[in-house]
Amino acid sequence: MKKMRAFAEQLPLYLPRSNSSTVGNKTGTWRYYRPFYDEKTAPCSAACPVGEDIPRIEMLAAQGLLRKAWETIMEENPFPSVCGRVCFHPCEASCNRGQLDEPIAIHCLERFLGDKAIRDEKPHELAPPSVTGLRVAIVGAGPAGLAAGYFLSRLGYECSIYEAQKEPGGILRWGIPVYRLPEDVLRKEIQRIQKQGIALHCDTPVNGKLLAEIAKSHDALFIGCGYGRSIAIKIPGEAYIHDGHRLLQSVRAGKSARFRGKAAVIGGGNTALDVARTLSRLGAIPVILYRRRKQDMPAFAPEVEMALKEGVELKELVAPIRIEAACDPSSVTESGYQVTLQKMKISAGEVRGRARAIPDGTKTEILTVEHVFRAVGAEPEAFWNMESGERSRQLSLSHCKILFRERPVVYGGDLTNEIKSVTDAIASGKQAAMALDIYFKKGRDHIESALQDHLVESGPALSMSAYLGRGRANRTSHLVSFDEINTDYFLSAPRIVPATLSAHKRSRSFMEIEATLSKNESIKEARRCFNCGICTECDYCRIFCPEVAVTVDKAKRFINLDYCKGCGICVTECPRNAMVMGEEKL
């Protein structure tokens, strides 16, 4: 051992080595191309009707900054707990993570953050508005009207809302069954909006006279009265058909009827599903009658599946053509109705994006039921039909329509929205608020172009945060695709599945079906998010920079151009495409 040690010690080494600093070697002179921090748009945000900043919400949640995450939702949507439950979350369908394993459970996170804020009972601390001194009257305290009030008051307008019913909420209060949206959650979120200083007048149906009176004392009007009247089917025996909307409304008003036997529900939309599932909970055996196929139903597919599991029957490709009281004593034991169904078939072509169904010859079928309900759509009360004045005096936007009279009147919500969803109604309220603010501050001619500047990607969703010039204003409209994500940084991990009542239990009660995630579950799920296009301060750019040219100052990252040689490693490493290589901007 002695000899070998001596060998090592004797062995001379002659190596290039320098003790002088390399700071003098300004490698930035080698550069002909350089990296930029460049935040982009996540597909989930663009798919969200209200354009929530989802990648940032998930980032904050993942970091445990739950209050900030909730406030980030509140920038764009005053109803996190409601939307976390009732929105059909198009964000998740567009989630890039879905191409790696499964989309992020965005709605579960939103609901958790909303519920937590309700529990905490702390108001948001978003920047207070600068008061404009202008007043806006809002007709209808549904999601559109409440959202309009929320955003307008945040922009410094004094708002009064007029509501015909005894409580606010519109469809949320009177249409959506409590197993999907518990009353308490809704009440708390509405109260929070009210506390922003909005005057709410319930039990105040607006007629022509009142409208004229309101108009006098306000600088603008927003009409978001929704679709209060359901559409008739216009077939012989119409009188035997009950209105599905009215059933939902009476149940939400606390009147509990019991039903027995088969109940036919005509329609294929979400209301038809709500009616059928409510009937099932009230003791009936519901059968949905739909003129097309299951895959053509406008109802949200998971809702359809849940309904079927709860025991709701679905008859496809049938259209009722006649309803008669069942008087044949040999065929029915109790009183009931015979519904004559025309069999339908699918033919070539589409009608408004859906398969075309045509009668299948003269084939018919008779269905004997105890009750018949319709849920084939709704329309506004006649009073609210929008005037179709001269073109020059009106402006049609994606989610509302403005008539320029003595003072501007904005129609929104279901009245104008192509997609009649809760979240689109909120989007409508937001669009109206921004449009009116632009109108008052810059003038009517600027509305369209100014809105255009604050779209999420190419719209139609608008960002209030961008409009108010906050951080989001710097995002480019480039939509981050899955290919642009550095998936080396993301291990496959399953999506959280919230606890759900069994089909057996839920078909017998109005208890809420899905549970809210726990804090730990939510943070874990949020950590799955790619945070497409935004900087999460993960610092991989800084770690991998061979020239140590990335510097951090007050949580912002900068490229030190004295040393950045333009190798692009930072951009390649960036897990979420929040950087880009580009020409020098001289």
Binding site: M1, K3, M4, F7, A8, Q10, L11, P12, L13, Y14, L15, P16, R17, S18, N19, S20, S21, T22
Partner: protein
């Protein structure tokens, strides 16, 4: 304790016992079993080491260069195309004087795609400044790997431990796996002679102009020469603890041999049996097993071959346009000897083709019956039919 070990795992066990601190590798058949076992040891805590997964052999070598520059004991393993892909960094590792140990499983290069034994991959890295040690069996693989760390760290040169694809890498044999305390006595923790350290910053491996470059290269040659002079001492130390010794080269019955076969790797094992059989028939034949290829132990080779009449070198490799690579080296080692033996160069067993005792007897007979070699390189065991099919 004796264990039945796969040749690959003889390497893995040695690396475990050597307590290598950073291991980086990219899988390639037939090397994969080596790093597979090591990665499991790193993952389950048997080894307190970092296993760096990388996307290529080039990066694997770059990673161990980085780790070794910071003073860590490092290991990697590769084979064939993987080794070829490392080529640039093999030069870097030696010139940066980093004591990296690598296991290299001799495998053919494609195309035609072939995963079996062929020595051309490692031999074509001849001039990269790596010490190369060829092994014959599982025990020698384990011993040589342990020794390689000491050697590398003493000479500040990287060491390649070479073993034959499948015949050795995938063959199970009883191997004595020493106790860790014994290994610790032979191989203390690395105390690097230089290391990158943020507390004491300096830059290494920067530009070396003509006024110093040549001296740096002479410094490497100097170290290689020293390795030749000191290797025996290191082996003695090893033998004192483990009671085993393998030598830079091993001469078997060369003292009175007229003809000496020269071979490396598992072929040497087959040669041992062949010469025993030939000796029993009265043939005066010996074997020189080559273990150390770089530095090339010229003196030892001269001592053992100079008195033979003929030398038959068996190459499982080929430098196209010249011939067997070992034969080239043997010829150059003997060229300045007075009345050197005739050197017959045989190329056999490429791409995993068997070299059997029959093959070796054919080589012996051809050498014995020819006054001089028929050609510079003689290809043994060619399928005549196949050759005729494309020759005409």
């Amino acid at each position: 304790m004796k264990q039945v070990l796969e040749g690959s795992h003889a390497v893995s066990e040695a690396v475990r016992l050597a307590k290598a601190q950073v291991i980086s590798a990219y899988p390639i058949t037939p090397q994969t079993h080596i790093v597979e076992a090591i990665s499991a040891y790193c993952a389950n805590g048997t080894m307190n080491s970092r296993f760096l997964c990388v996307e290529s052999e080039h990066s694997a070598m770059a990673a161990v260069i980085g780790a070794a520059s910071c003073g860590a004991r490092t290991f990697t393993a590769t084979s064939s195309h993987g080794l070829a892909y490392m080529h640039e960094l093999l030069h870097w590792a030696s010139a940066a004087r980093l004591p990296i140990v690598m296991a290299e499983v001799n495998r053919a290069l494609g195309p035609g795609w072939n995963i079996w034994l062929d020595q051309t991959d490692s031999l074509s890295q001849r001039d990269t400044g790596w010490i190369q040690l060829y092994c014959e069996d599982g025990q020698e693989v384990l011993d040589t790997t342990l020794l390689a760390f000491r050697l590398a760290e003493s000479a500040n040169l990287p060491v390649m431990v070479v073993l034959d694809a499948f015949f050795l890498s995938h063959t199970f044999e009883p191997v004595d796996v020493p106790r860790p305390e014994k290994v610790d006595r032979f191989l203390p923790p690395l105390s690097p002679r230089f290391q990158l350290d943020t507390a004491n910053p300096y830059a290494i491996n920067q530009m070396a102009a003509p006024d110093v470059y040549m001296e740096m290269r002479y410094n490497i040659q100097f170290a290689m020469d020293r390795v030749l002079g000191q290797y025996d001492l290191l082996e003695e130390e090893f033998a004192a603890i483990f009671d085993r010794k393998h030598g830079m080269a091993e001469a078997v019955r060369c003292e009175d041999a007229d003809i000496v076969l020269v071979a490396a790797g598992t072929t040497a094992s087959t040669c041992r049996q062949a010469i025993a059989d030939l000796r029993s028939k009265g043939e005066k034949v010996g074997l020189l097993k080559l273990k150390m290829f770089r530095p090339f132990p010229t003196d030892l080779i001269r001592q053992n071959l100079a008195r033979a009449q003929k030398v038959a070198v068996i190459d499982r490799n080929c430098s196209f346009g010249a011939g067997g690579i070992f034969a080239q080296e043997i010829k150059s080692a003997l060229c300045n000897v007075d009345s050197p033996p005739g050197v017959f160069s045989y190329i056999a067993g490429l791409g995993g083709r068997d070299v059997t005792q029959d093959t070796l007897e054919e080589i012996y007979l051809q050498t014995k019956t020819s006054h001089t070699p028929a050609r510079e390189s003689i290809w043994i065991g060619l399928n005549r039919e196949l050759v005729e099919s494309w020759r005409n």
